[in-house]
């Protein structure tokens, strides 16, 4: 098993049992996040609850905004001052935040935005879904921009990725999205605490920290001259290209001799892992690529494995969103099948095994 996971650090012996949402909140505070602005929505409420309890003790700020729109714009203000700021929400709330995320990207402000996905569209439901993949990986708001998207699959990764998200956000001056789901947020698992220094943004030359003994600074996304705006877009584009070169993360499971390659992320990747084990026991050479960054998408490894495997099977809690990225990577060289459940329904390992067997028999 190859894992290009967390950026590293020394794992301590201390293990605590906690919900994924709590792990994420702890990880963020541990990373140095001191500013949290949010609005209640299920199934992410443990995150603001933890922040409201802990941040004031640490001299930080927890503030419940009037709306998700208010919250993301408070993030804009605090991030514009160079602070480690985070907001979290779920589907409907993320829709409201999209305007602000577009402005954050345009003004190149680092922050962490958490989406603990629930079923949609509309008010949908409150159980786990992965229907916000397009929204997270395609920008989601208006204009030509991307956010880096991390997809944890365990409470441990919820904890670890919070640190990584802030580090990446400041390194690129760009928002980073942590895309979890309702199961991951609510499920309790042991989490091993890690010893890492807080994220140090370093000496920044852009935040509005009051113009004392220096010239004024401006946080802005308006470029009224088309030449300037095109240059700005190209600069952002170069940043996204650099992410594609340097930030791709994925995990491979049993891929050395695999003939059928499952592609799944988050909670579904764990179900797929069980299904692969059962398939192997049944004599089917199944393996998995688990994308950990959804943008940038790990297309190179999928291209490479397309030379080896007979087919791909993408499994998602949606009608099929990530499968489009898999098809782009495979580029028609192998069949790319899709299996999805929606609305908070989750496939069982047996269900996936049946699908793997069906595809194996028909190939």
């Amino acid at each position: 098993m190859k894992c290009t996971g967390s950026l590293g650090g020394v794992y301590l012996k201390t293990k605590l049992l906690m919900k994924g949402n709590d792990a994420l909140a702890r990880g963020a505070v541990f990373a140095g996040c001191r500013y949290f602005f949010g609005y209640p929505i299920t199934p992410q409420n443990e995150i603001p609850t933890y922040m409201a309890e802990e941040l004031p003790k640490l001299g930080g700020v927890y503030l419940q905004a009037e709306s998700e729109i208010g919250a993301i714009n408070m993030i804009y203000g605090a991030a514009g001052c160079g602070k480690l700021a985070m907001t979290s929400s779920s589907g409907p709330g993320l829709s409201l935040k999209q305007e602000g995320i577009s402005y954050l990207c345009g003004a190149e402000l680092p922050c962490v935005i958490v989406n603990i996905m629930r079923g949609g569209p509309g008010l949908g439901g409150i159980l786990a879904s992965q229907g916000d993949y397009f929204q997270a990986t395609r920008g989601g708001g208006h204009g030509d921009y991307r956010t880096l998207v991390l997809a944890p699959a365990t409470a441990q990764e919820m904890y670890d990725f919070a640190w990584d998200a802030f580090e990446i956000a400041f390194r690129y001056r760009n928002p980073v999205v942590i895309l979890g789901d309702g199961i991951l947020g609510q499920m309790m698992e042991p989490v091993e605490l890690v010893s890492r220094p807080p994220v140090d943004p370093g000496n920044l030359d852009w935040p509005t920290t009051m113009a004392q003994g220096r010239s004024k600074r401006l946080i802005n996304s308006l470029y009224i001259d088309p030449v300037d705006l095109e240059n700005h877009n190209r600069k952002l584009g170069a940043k996204y290209e650099r992410m594609k070169k340097e930030e791709v993360r994925y995990e491979e499971v049993a891929m050395d001799d695999a003939e059928i390659c499952l592609v799944a992320y988050g909670t579904v990747a764990r179900i797929a892992r069980s299904a692969i084990q059962r398939a192997r026991e049944a004599g089917i050479k199944a393996g998995m690529i688990r994308p950990i960054t959804l943008f940038p998408f790990p297309d190179e490894i999928i291209q490479k494995r397309a030379e080896q495997v007979k087919m791909f099977l993408t499994v998602e809690l949606s009608l099929g969103q990530m499968v489009e990225d898999v098809r782009l990577a495979v580029a028609g060289r192998r069949p790319v099948e899709f299996y999805g459940r929606q609305g908070g329904m989750v496939p069982t390992p047996k269900e996936l095994l049946t699908e793997i067997q069906r595809l194996g028999a028909s190939s």
């Binding site: 905004a65 714009n73 920290t209 004024k216």
Partner: protein, 254 residues
């Protein structure tokens, strides 16, 4: 020769983009003069909004952030919570503040957020070419109320100060005008007092400044000033609504 009048230090030496006869220039000067007189240029962080005043971020010579439409009070909240020692102000128009940004302004006031809002009310969407605003007066013709605003169709204009007056978190709230020199001097006092209220940590402060838009009102500048005086002040009375400063603050012209 003694110099008796000059550009405020906090106002950058850049020509305004505003139309001839527009009163934004006067209001910019009042804000910059208030910042200078209180000696807070190096503490100030301003927030620009969307509308004609979008380029205020170029004109005020202090750190600035540009907010999306209506969200300036939320951005200002983020800044103030991040740097409590900063003096944070936002400059918003009436479309921005009284329509798309009502949730943000109401809740900033409700929280008693220690920020100062300069709210410029010219009763029209000016940058987009003269559409009806939440503050457009009854009977007033705009490109989107060509027969004049009617209660039955568009409802009543929004009176922001009257709406915000009830919140205990509001420390200073006043409506002023800039239609003549006397009014301008009163406006200067009010804006300076609003910043003082923030400096003293008393709570939220907002100054509504009645302003003209001769181009979109389709009037000559002097007629526009007259129209403001004769029509707007009737519906938007210029008065102090809340003043929690000690002894009502400093009444000297700043």
């Amino acid at each position: 020769m003694k110099k008796v009048f000059s550009r405020p230090e906090s106002l950058a030496d850049i020509p305004f983009h505003y139309c001839p006869g527009c009163t934004h220039g006067i209001i910019h000067r009042l804000v910059a003069t208030a910042i200078d007189s209180l000696g807070i240029k190096e503490q100030a962080i301003g927030v620009a909004s969307v509308g004609c005043s979008v380029f205020t971020y170029n004109y005020f010579d202090c750190d600035m952030q540009a907010a999306s439409h209506g969200r300036a009070p939320a951005v200002a909240t983020g800044i103030k919570r991040a740097i409590p020692e900063a003096v944070v102000f936002a400059y918003q128009g009436d479309g921005d503040l009284a329509s798309i940004g009502t949730a943000e302004i109401v809740h900033a006031a409700a929280r008693g957020e220690k920020i100062t809002i300069v709210f410029v009310n010219n009763a029209i969407y000016a940058m987009t070419g003269g559409q009806m605003a939440p503050t457009t007066l009854l009977g007033q013709k705009t490109t989107t109320s060509p027969e004049g605003r009617m209660v039955e169709r568009e409802g009543y204009p929004v009176q922001v100060c009257e709406m915000l007056e009830s919140f205990p978190g509001v420390a200073y709230l006043e409506r002023v005008s800039v239609h003549d020199p006397k009014a301008v001097r009163k406006a200067q006092r009010a804006i300076t007092n609003a910043f003082r209220a923030q400096q003293q940590g008393l709570g939220f402060s907002l100054i509504e400044v009645l302003s003209t838009c001769s181009v979109n009102w389709k009037m000559r500048p002097l007629d526009a000033l007259k129209w403001l005086e004769e029509n707007m002040i009737n519906y938007y009375p210029t008065q102090n609504f809340v003043n929690k400063l000690d002894k009502g603050g400093n009444n000297d012209v700043a």
